[in-house]
Amino acid sequence: MGESLSDRRYTREHEWVSVNGDTATVGITHFAQELLGDLVYFDLPDLGTMVRQFAKIGEVESVKAVSDIFSPVSGEVIEINPIVAESAEVVNHDPYDKGWLLKVKLTNPVELNNLLSAAEYNTLIAESEKH
């Protein structure tokens, strides 16, 4: 249910990235959406924006909270998920598939090594749940 998937990599700020060729699909994790609760709005960068790894690229607002979104990779934003723009709730229901946020054309794929594996990310959230 809330398992972190092993086919992708993660940031400490609760974003995920899945890479296919030179295109990276980016989203927020199940843990993040559960923590934020009912999601209302995503503020995401425009198409063509150049983003840097770990730099802030947008915000997500839930009924009760707001959080920054950071890019897991560097590159150019080539696609925004139109379903999310229409209805943010899809990310609550399906954060890893239908609820992806944006696609980035990678400019520095080596950076993927800076990200966490699913096992490492699971350890991170297990630690944070203890506190």
């Binding site: 249910m1 559960e34 609760g37 009912d38 209302v40 709005y41 503020d43 915000e59 607002e61 009924v63 009760k64 707001v66 709730e89 609550n92």
Partner: protein, 372 residues
């Protein structure tokens, strides 16, 4: 301070909460674990607007004021003149300081001329009850009986609330209650209290009953498909109804006239605490007004955000959030009269970005059945 101040309390209904994967329990106003949400704030909000939802409101204060001079005491303590109430009738009221600042907002119910029930805010209950006790004079035949710890209180709200509760308590009792009407009745052989009231902008009922009876009614309501709702949905619902939240929209630094609550201040009757100051304030006129703000684009105004007009800060949002019914952000703020007219366009600083908002009518939403 006694032990109850250091050890967080749990309500009588805590043990029958339906705890699920998405349930979030939080400390609230001295209570250890209150539900923020059982499933989802949006889902719970919509359940109340479309069908029926219920809330554990046992954390709220419940004070019986009994005796031949109950009305005399309450007239001294409240801005609303309780002598205007008929038997089995209730009214919204304020407790004010001598300077007119608001100590709390409460509901007062008259069962009969010698028996009244005060329902007040969780965070203020102890302070309020001391305030009432301090106003009791030697000549008064009056007793104060705090029944908060020995009872449960359930709020059932929504268009189907009347039908569902009628099936359990009888249509004669439930449907016989007028707006803000109240009654005492027997539930499983124990005395219980019901009022037509709520904090959601929907028709609804608040029921006070013993712990066992409360748990039984709670479970009966779950079995009949009523959605249990948490404090999150309670806040989005009351904000849509533009009902003041004590501590956010009103407090000791605000007065009833600027808060739009002049309809609960009866200056023409007997004296009460704050009357002199309030009479003066009314003559001068409100210097600012609590208004409803509605965003005209995406972005959420929240409590404390600054309100701008012509590149100047003119106020702060007292309550702000997202309205699930209107699908846009809404909030309230005190504004000078020249900026308080409907249609006035202002901006809210949302973390450095300006969110355009418009002053709109009060309330944002009200159930069709409650519209006058």
């Amino acid at each position: 301070m006694g032990e109850k101040d250091t050890k967080p309390r749990l309500t009588c209904l805590h043990q029958v909460y339906p705890i699920g994967e998405h349930t979030k329990l939080v400390p609230f106003a001295g209570w250890g674990e209150m539900p923020l949400q059982f499933v989802s704030m949006l889902m719970e909000h919509r359940a109340v607007r479309q069908r029926a939802g219920m809330f554990d409101v046992s954390h709220m204060g419940r004070l019986w004021v009994n005796g031949a001079n109950a009305a005399a005491l309450l007239r001294k303590a409240l801005t609303y003149n309780v002598r205007r109430l008929k038997d089995r009738q209730g009214h919204y009221a304020l407790l004010c300081q001598e300077d007119g600042g608001i100590i709390d907002d409460v509901f007062v119910y008259r069962l009969n001329g010698r028996r009244f029930l005060i329902i007040d805010n969780a965070a203020n209950a102890e302070k309020d009850h001391e305030h009432f006790a301090g106003l009791v004079e030697q000549w008064m035949w009056v007793t104060l009986e705090d029944c908060q710890m020995e009872t449960a209180m359930i709020a059932l709200q929504g268009p189907e609330a009347a039908r569902i509760l009628s099936e359990m308590l009888g249509a004669a009792l439930v449907e016989g209650l007028p707006r803000h009407g109240c009654a005492e009745f027997d539930f499983r052989g124990e005395r219980a209290f019901i009022a037509q009231s709520g904090y959601t902008g929907e028709n609804g009922y608040e029921v006070v009953l013993g712990p066992d009876e409360g748990r039984a009614l709670w479970e009966q309501l779950i079995d009949s498909g009523v959605q249990p709702c948490g404090l999150g949905a309670r806040d989005t619902l009351r904000l849509e109804a533009a009902l003041a939240l004590y501590g956010n929209d009103i407090d000791t630094s605000t007065n009833p006239f600027e808060a739009g609550l002049d309809w609960v201040v009866n200056l023409d009757d007997e004296p009460f605490v704050g009357r002199k100051a309030l009479t003066r304030m009314k003559a001068v006129g409100a210097q600012r007004q609590l208004v409803c703000l509605k965003a005209t684009t995406k972005g959420i105004m929240r409590d404390g955000f600054t309100v701008w007009h012509n590149n100047q800060v003119v106020s702060r949002v007292t309550s702000g959030g997202f309205s699930p019914t209107l699908d846009v952000s809404i909030g309230m703020a005190y504004l000078p009269p020249k900026l308080a007219a409907q249609g006035t366009v202002l901006e809210i600083d949302v973390r450095g970005k300006l969110l355009p908002v418009e002053v709109v009518g009060h309330p944002f939403y009200q159930a069709p059945s409650l519209r006058k």
